[in-house]
Amino acid sequence: MAKVSVTVNGKVRTADVEPRTLLVHFLRENLNLTGTHVGCDTSQCGACTVLIDGRSAKSCTIFAVQADGSAVTTIEGLAKDGQLHPLQEGFWEEHGLQCGYCTPGMIMSAANLLNDTPKPTETQIREGISGNFCRCTGYQHIVNAIQFAAAKR
């Protein structure tokens, strides 16, 4: 077992885990933060995307021990003081989700995009979420949602 200490959504979380524990399972099983999802096993679908030290990452392809000492933001940590994040608002306003399974990862990827590129073009948005699969929406309303958030910021 290995001791890990990760700041998750602003709170320091400490636990003993097997070294092979994937970060996504640490978040979901140890911390009960089940908003982060698993949609594949080859590091492609992006449903498990979180921010690690401010940058998007696929938490299914990171061991919890690697995140020791890092700051992780999950979908649960995005709204502040009961105020939805502009991206969350955008996804709601623009019907950027259907089944909702890819949504947390999609939003975290979009957050990474807007941090890097506050006013992205549509092509930049589509490229910025190219590490996230959505089977429901055809992406158009997701693009609209990110544009909404970009306009609002």
């Binding site: 290995a2 070294p19 994937l22 096993d41 590091s43 492609q44 998007s56 392809t61 996230n132």
Partner: protein, 284 residues
């Protein structure tokens, strides 16, 4: 998908990592971004007994210019390479290549050293590093050595690296007239064929050319016949067309899979050689 058990250690320095590698009797693997290794471990195609995490070794990541060369630490992420102002100014082809790897999340975690050590036959970096005549700096028990990119990739997932050696960094000369062009595999976005090309031009003539190929074979290769066809010739459409036309000739055992037959790959080597050369020329 769940990896098998392993022990985990965080290395504090290159020497610490090298010592740990040596002590593991071959069961250890280095872990940086983990974006080549962890997917394999999850599929249980790789079952290391120990992972030595080198991600936080001080000085292992970062991009700087020193002694006329650009030095890229092995732990530098693809994202950092793709967005480096230094590279964008002085070696844009390398930044462009990094920007085509995987997707944003992969680029945020994956590292140049990890990619090179893993040496996926369809990885992007090898082709451009061969074209840029990059030097790969490795350190082992015996000390430092430097390997030319064209000598580094030796076979399928096989590189010029001893079991107790670590890639510390990649050095490239500033080179503007270079480019990477890639045929994307639509599922994985790895390269079906990727070609890196760099040109040195003086007085309207190509004084030197280097062309690297990835995706088509077991490992990245140098397309020497293309380089020969370019060197000493006028920088012109005709020269590039003639050089691209021989790209891939003489290569045996081209990869074939559901995405592309060997014959198609062979033709795409020509197409993407031309595209890379045209793009390099546009920067000359």
């Amino acid at each position: 998908m769940i990896p098998t058990h392993f022990d985990y250690a965080r290395a504090t320095s290159l020497d610490d990592a090298i010592a740990r590698l040596g002590a593991s009797a071959g069961g250890a693997k280095l872990l940086a971004g983990g974006h080549s290794l962890i997917p394999l471990m999850k599929l249980r195609l790789s079952e290391p007994t120990t992972l030595i995490d080198i991600a936080r070794i001080p000085g292992l990541s970062g991009i700087m210019e020193k002694d006329g060369k650009i030095q890229i630490g092995a732990g530098t992420t693809h994202h950092a390479v793709a967005t480096s102002a230094l590279l964008t100014e002085k070696c844009p082809a390398l930044a462009d290549t990094a920007a085509t790897i995987g997707d944003p999340q992969v680029r945020n975690r994956g590292t140049i050293g990890g990619s090179l050590a893993h040496a996926d036959p369809a990885a992007d970096y090898p082709a451009i590093l061969v074209a840029l005549d990059a030097e790969i700096h490795v350190k082992g028990k015996g000390g430092w050595r430097s390997v030319k990119a064209s000598d580094f990739f030796q076979g399928l997932f096989t590189v010029n690296l001893q079991p107790d050696e670590i890639i510390a960094g990649v050095h490239v000369k500033p080179q503007k007239a270079a480019a990477y062009a890639k045929l994307h595999q639509r599922a994985s976005h790895f390269a079906i064929v990727g070609v890196g090309a760099s040109l040195e031009v003086s007085g309207g003539k190509i004084s030197a050319a280097r062309v690297g190929l990835t995706g088509a074979s077991t490992h990245a290769l140098r397309l020497a016949n293309v380089e020969t066809a370019l060197t000493g010739q006028a920088l012109s459409d005709a020269t590039i067309d003639a050089a691209a036309a021989v790209a891939g000739d003489g290569l045996d055992d081209l990869n074939a899979d559901i995405h592309a037959s060997a014959n198609y790959r062979r033709q795409m080597i020509k197409v993407f050689t031309k595209r890379a050369l045209d793009a390099a020329r546009a920067r000359a």
